[in-house]
Symmetry: C2
């Protein structure tokens, strides 16, 4: 289909219509250098004149005035034929000649700032007014006809364009035009994705017939969960709202672990909580007014697994805590801010990464996962369980303190992979059993952990939470035999009665949460 | 902002431009009934005339001929002003009057079939020609001005429109127009998402600056992982490629478990494999030529956890197997087809769901997960491990059979949540340890399972696979002490040498896979 030279296209005429008028000078200089004629409209025209450049007004070019407060400017056959005609098609050429239409070889457009408007205002009329119609039509036409037309859709591309024109004496290559066309369609798709999500969120149509989600590239990652997988992380916004203060680039597994930790620590009572995560699973969680204690107790739950893990504090990390943290090797320390001295101390450890997550907020964005050709969306499990929901079903009634302990344990369950059994003592996990197909096995794992790392006295109160109901008595039996004195679970098994009976026989406190917290 | 009556808009003139010309008659009848004038162009115009309806050609309406093989038809200020003018704005009214422009109150458009073209051809020129420019411009303009304009973007909306016009004597309500506007923007966003994904896949730009993914709603689910979460399942295509032959609606957890099972069974050697899954984790996997044996051996791995789980066979389910399956309660049976009699038998069990997955194919689509405001994408872990990659590092060398056993075990590891330890005997799992922060714990869990459900004789060969390296000797030590005679693991620990030494001291076969298979 012709050699490379055939695919170089000389630019003779450009159309400029930009909402963001920064850096226009850069472009105008180069257009002038290569004697490229300019057409523009409305505010862009005024700006160009002000900057002292010659320029043809769209209304003069089309002989059709701008109307409806700028709603209709460039939606004109002379403009669109100028863009869309195939330069190597004889019939097209003839039609252009007959109509006295001219080619438009370069289109520089950026859209009304719909996304920014959304961030600024809730005024629906104002938002609607900021849906650009003419811009996307120009861009889509140019991108379709990239074989002949160069399309610039954001200011970030100005330098590339200048280089390209300079290297090719006022022409552009097919590779360049195709790349820009690809970016142009990604821009129009992104733009309309935001518009459609605005509409569906307004009508609370959370599961529309077509669901579109989009992200802005934050970074390509070295690899995915394993070196033979490629990966990248995107944000719904422009950033992830976490700040890396120190250390090597985060890996896919780092991000995954980090979010597991933050999912938990952001739901713990403010300024009290420490979470330690390994392989996306918590291996120690504690809340305590004394922040050093909070950390020490979280660590004590499973100091072996904690090695090489992630610590997340939902409070500011002090110098004193940094000294304590440095006694062990952790891959990542997350804090809600850091004392300056704390950072200096932590940096001394090799390979440590330090993350400030104080600006990260829990949002009600739906979670998404994919399998084969499917996408599953669900609202996040943000339900913080409280006293209102529970039902005390055993003869023995819990004290206020025991009830609080049970609620603490149950709220942690939510963040442990199912089947989840969480044992706690004094607002600290002392055994976590997770990710087992059998609930009994999760009980056993949690107890084994407790027996391995804790010195439980007769007077200690250890309580247990289960993320879903016990299908048989065996699970709760195992817990009670190991010294657990109070249990919370959702209920719903056909053997609930048997389980209540067993609790009463063993003088165990049993509370039904009614809420279930599966997490797979 | 005016009462409801003010928001009713009488439709006097419609523009019709459709690529899919089915069911037009339905619409034309109602437009005629309410004396609505029609404008149309190209093929639509011809079709309307053929059907015997009066209609004004776009070129006559605009006094500007259709040009460039239809590339420029409706991109005209008279058309777009007719759509975009605000009917209650005096200045707009005046401009319309001066220009002698007429209102267009109803826009019926469907786009060039870009998605269908992609499915039919790989001819790039043909694909590019099927990017619609005029259609999306009309639809976006109408959707923006939904306060005054009704926009129909697919044939499925014809009946709604007819009802609306009939109920309101030729007018439409603001609620109706807004709903259609929402659907219109979802359509244009979806359309351009497909276009942009076509471009990026062509240039292998897998992680573009803006990533857009989209799905078609398959069904809203009763709830998500838990009853207080809302959920839905979408497909990248029009269907999920699995067929439910019997049973109640699938739940979110059903889908999640089902995909876990299929992820494994689709990678097992064809026509041999059975997988049993509970809580998205496998609790039994086996391959065997005799399909009844394949199932029985998978079940024997952990018959307790299997209860209420999911069985997935990568072969056709026979009558004989159905009788065997019916001995236990399973929530879902998945097969690559079913004998007719097998279905009859399986249906006898209450609450069973039967799924035919023979048409589901493994694709190289990236996996996506979301956390807070982030989206992480990675290519799937489809790497099937083979002999070529491995390194035998122990003095004792494996027989061909032992090597095959190790490879079987290692390929299963990939699908077990990390840290994963898989024990196998005769191409069957006999112990699975998963989802633990400590690798040693995963070893212990796997061994405990084996000791609970298997009668291992001295002559039995049990081999172990680890998804990642052993950080210490303790893990492999525990395995060997429990009778495991061969181990495969990726290597990469600073204690690799110690581990090789230990293998040699205990006459254990040790193989390094080099490949790692984390899955969290």
């Amino acid at each position: 289909m012709g050699n490379k030279q055939d695919k170089m296209k000389k630019i003779k005429q450009a159309l400029i219509s930009v909402s963001d008028k920064n850096k226009l000078k850069l472009i105008l200089k180069i257009l002038k250098k290569f004697k490229i004629k300019i057409i523009s409209s409305g505010g862009t025209y005024k700006k160009l004149k002000k900057l002292g450049y010659k320029c043809n007004e769209v209304s003069k070019f089309t002989n059709s005035s701008e109307i409806l407060d700028g709603r209709v400017k460039t939606l004109h056959p002379k403009i669109h034929a100028g863009i869309l005609n195939k330069r190597n098609n004889n019939s097209h050429k003839k039609q252009m000649r007959l109509k006295k239409y001219e080619n438009i070889d370069l289109v520089i457009v950026n859209f009304y700032p719909f996304e920014k408007t959304l961030a600024k205002t809730k005024n629906h009329k104002n938002i609607i007014e900021n849906i650009d119609i003419g811009g996307p039509a120009l861009v889509r036409a140019s991108a379709k006809n990239y074989n002949d037309v160069t399309v610039i859709t954001n200011i970030g591309q100005y330098n590339e364009l200048i280089k390209e024109l300079q290297n090719n004496k006022g022409s552009t290559s097919i590779e360049f035009r195709q790349k820009l066309s690809e970016e142009a369609f990604s821009k129009t798709a992104y733009y309309d994705s935001i518009v459609t999500n605005y509409f569906t969120s307004r009508t609370k149509n959370v599961f529309p017939k077509r669901k579109i989600i989009y992200g802005n590239l934050i970074e390509k990652l070295r690899y995915g969960e394993n070196p033979h997988q490629e990966a990248a992380i995107y944000s719904y916004n422009k950033s992830l709202d976490i700040v890396q203060l120190h250390g090597k680039k985060l890996s896919y597994n780092n991000y995954n672990d980090l979010y597991s930790a933050l999912n938990i620590s952001k739901t713990l009572p403010k300024n009290l909580g420490t979470v330690i995560v390994k392989h996306a699973n918590p291996c120690g969680i504690s809340i305590h007014k004394d922040k050093i204690e909070s950390y020490k107790k979280a660590l004590a739950c499973d100091p072996v697994s904690a090695f090489g893990g992630i610590v997340s504090c939902n409070f500011k990390v002090s110098k004193k805590l940094a000294l304590e943290l440095n006694k062990i090797f952790f891959e990542i320390i997350i804090g809600s801010g850091f004392d300056k001295e704390a950072i200096t101390i932590l940096k001394k450890k090799k390979n440590i990464r330090i993350i400030d997550a104080s600006n990260l907020k829990i949002k009600n964005l739906h979670n998404v996962i994919s399998n084969f050709n499917s996408l599953m969306f669900q609202s996040p499990d943000n339900k913080n369980f409280s006293k209102k929901n529970l039902r005390i079903v055993s003869k023995k009634k819990p004290s206020k303190q025991t009830l609080n302990s049970l609620i603490f344990a149950f709220n942690i369950c939510r963040n442990v992979k199912s089947n989840a059994i969480v044992l706690t003592k004094n607002d600290t996990t002392v055994g976590i059993g997770s990710g087992q197909p059998s609930r009994l096995d999760s009980c056993k794992i949690a107890i084994e952990k407790m027996n391995k790392f804790q010195n439980i006295n007769e007077n200690d109160e250890v309580v247990a939470a289960s993320d879903a109901f016990f299908p048989f008595v065996d699970g709760i039996e195992t817990l009670v035999q190991s010294g657990i004195s109070a249990v919370i679970q959702p209920s719903g098994s056909i053997r609930d009665k048997e389980i209540i009976k067993f609790a009463n026989q063993t003088n165990t406190i049993l509370v039904f949460s009614n809420t279930r917290h599966f997490k797979h």
